[in-house]
């Protein structure tokens, strides 16, 4: 029974990882950009939410009304002013520039908020739980999992059913032709990064409510998101959810064996899948 319980907790944790991964997957799919600062931007969102809740005393969920648009604007601005100038065949500039941002964000947070761990206080929902037969499920993890499904469903719908999604797909397929057809590539990329950071903001707030965070917490968030993307298979956003779940389950089962194995077990499952299925479990893209 313990093992079933751990598996369920791991599945729900996977929802959070899928949220980490969704923003990463989105910008890679559209502009082949891997954002090394992604994890630090998740943590930055959590700190933004912390500041908002402290300043005006609202619930972290309400802080989303501010944090999500703020991160989206930041993403658009970052892409238009800096990242667009690094886009090209050479993968070194975007990689090193986002790496520079990662170090800057981490240290700026350290100056602004000290290295002490912080947490977003969400009140009763943090400890509320539902009992289904012998199994108890936390309301918050369940909520995060449902949010992950909703976000991924919405991204999928946006991608295939809206004009914006068509612009994204066109730019992703053939940048130059999309430009000829009247799409402003720089603007489309800006929108993609804005959307990516909007999802990131949501992930950051959920992270902050579920666990404590500190300025250096970004690196592992990036890694978890990345592992979910690779396990699920590049270009398959539902695969990313599956990847997140596999990673979450591996971690909770690992932690059951030995608390020191939690993160290690996730990495090992990732490396095993990379060895056996280099293109991930459900690949869609080359």
């Amino acid at each position: 029974m313990d093992w079933i319980n751990a598996t369920i907790q791991g599945t729900l944790l996977g929802g959070l990882y899928a949220l980490f991964a969704a923003g990463l997957s989105l910008i890679f799919g559209i502009m082949r950009l891997v954002n090394i600062a992604h994890g630090d931007l998740i943590v930055l969102s959590a700190y933004l939410a912390l500041t908002v809740t402290m300043a005006i005393g609202v619930h972290p969920f309400l802080a989303l009304v501010f944090v999500v648009p703020a991160m989206a604007v930041l993403g658009y601005a970052l892409q238009r002013t800096v990242l667009n100038r690094t886009m090209g065949d050479d993968l070194l500039p975007p990689l090193l520039v986002t790496f520079g941002f990662s170090v800057i964000i981490q240290n700026a947070l350290q100056i602004g908020y000290t290295a002490d761990p912080q947490k977003l206080k969400a009140g009763a929902i943090e400890t509320a739980s539902l009992s289904i037969g012998p199994i108890t499920v936390g309301v918050l993890p369940l909520l995060v999992f449902i949010a992950a499904i909703v976000v991924i469903g919405a991204l999928q719908w946006m991608f295939y059913k809206t004009a914006l999604g068509r612009a994204f797909r066109a730019t992703s397929d053939l940048q130059d032709i999309a430009q000829l057809m009247g799409l402003n590539r720089a603007h489309v990329f800006g929108l993609a990064m804005g959307l990516s950071l909007a999802v990131t903001a949501l992930a950051g707030v959920f992270l902050g409510i579920r666990t404590s965070f500190d300025p250096a917490a970004g690196g592992s968030r990036l890694i978890f998101g990345f592992e979910a993307v690779i396990i699920g298979g590049l270009g398959n956003i539902w695969g990313t959810l599956a990847g997140g779940v596999i990673l979450g389950v591996a971690q909770t089962l690992g932690a059951k064996l030995n608390p020191g194995f939690q993160v290690l077990a996730g990495h090992i499952v990732f490396l095993l899948i990379l060895a056996v299925r280099p293109r991930g479990l459900f690949p869609r893209m080359d």
Partner: protein, 339 residues
């Protein structure tokens, strides 16, 4: 009648080699003229120069952007401590073993990570470094998560007295810097090196000339892994203490190294040398600022990547393509009077 000769050396490069040899002799004598603190600083400079040159070979020449070289630095430190403490091998004798083990472990790591392309390879190397760090924290004989110190008896066995020991550590650091720079330089001048630069400039063209991309990159990755492991062993031989967080630190062994190479000029032999000097000059004057210093370093690296992607050496070099370490061949006209 005009004849032509093709050569690599230029008058400038010959002069640079002579100056370099002079500097080397002066630096080798440092234990006799430098104070204790300076000697330590010089040693650290040589170790960072080695790490930067190795990362540059990997990222700047082989296109393998790794953010996980701390895996090898930490592995080197841990293997050195294990060989001396558990197997009773003397630290000096352990060094070549450490290097070989570093190369051996790089083989399966490369086989696995080479499945990831481009930027995903970069994050994959980071995952691998995390696996190394978390595994090291599980080894109880090495102190688990809190680490361990090199026992005094082993430290004393290295040389008689503290100053002799410090001189030895310094010469080892100098020696490894010469070894690394020499290896990088000779490698780049070799057939393999030319293949690598061809790959970097145009992968498709290089491939159609019969260059085995996978094999070329694999060789570079393994050689770099072995040498980085050796540098790691020397770093922790100097520190005398090791812990998973210090040994596999992303900031210390990757972030700084990347900044050094980017600021100096990626994809040139001279770049990491200039970058290391600039980095230490900045550090010695601004390090008290802590986080602000790191933010400034990150901002400078971003600016350089955007405005002058070839770094400081690229700016110095300009369009004339001067090289202190001659890699490219030049055609020169020579007048032959006999005919």
């Amino acid at each position: 009648m005009n004849n032509h000769e093709v050569s690599r050396t230029t008058r400038l490069s010959t002069a640079a080699m002579i100056v370099l040899a002079g500097i080397l002799i002066v630096m080798a004598a440092a234990p006799w003229w430098a104070g204790r603190a300076d000697l330590r600083l010089f040693g650290e400079i040589f170790l960072y120069l080695s790490l930067a040159s190795l990362w540059n070979l990997l990222a700047g020449y082989a296109g393998l952007v790794s953010v996980g070289q701390q895996a090898y630095v930490g592995f080197g430190g841990y293997v050195l401590f294990a060989l001396t403490m558990l197997a009773g091998i003397s630290p000096l004798a352990a060094l070549p073993i450490v290097m070989v083990l570093g190369g051996l472990i790089a083989v399966p790591v490369a086989a696995l990570l080479f499945r990831l392309r481009g930027a995903y390879f970069a994050i994959g190397t980071w995952v691998m470094a995390e696996v190394f760090r978390l595994s090291a924290a599980q080894i109880t004989v090495m102190g688990g998560g809190s680490g361990t110190s090199l026992p005094a008896s082993i430290v004393k066995s290295m040389a008689d007295g503290r100053s002799a020991r410090e001189a030895l550590a310094y010469w080892l650091a100098l020696g490894v810097a010469v070894l690394v720079l020499g290896t990088v330089y000779l490698f780049l001048r070799s057939r393999q090196g030319v293949a690598l630069m061809a790959l970097r400039d145009n992968e498709l063209a290089a491939k159609s000339l019969g260059i085995d991309i996978w094999r070329s990159k694999f060789v570079v990755y393994v050689v770099t892994g072995a040498l980085t492991t050796l540098v790691g062993a020397l770093i922790f031989m100097q520190k005398l203490r090791i812990s998973p967080d210090a040994a596999f630190s992303t900031n210390d062994w990757t972030a700084f190294v990347i900044f050094i190479v980017v600021i100096g000029g990626i994809g040139t032999v001279e770049g990491p040398i200039i970058g290391t000097l600039v980095y230490f000059a900045l550090r010695e004057t601004l390090a008290d600022l802590g986080s602000v210093y790191l933010i400034a370093l990150g901002a400078v690296a971003i600016l350089i990547m955007l405005k002058a992607p070839r770094g400081l050496w690229g700016l110095i070099r300009g369009t004339r393509g001067i090289e202190l370490f001659p890699l490219s061949r030049r055609v020169r006209a020579t007048t032959n009077k006999d005919t």
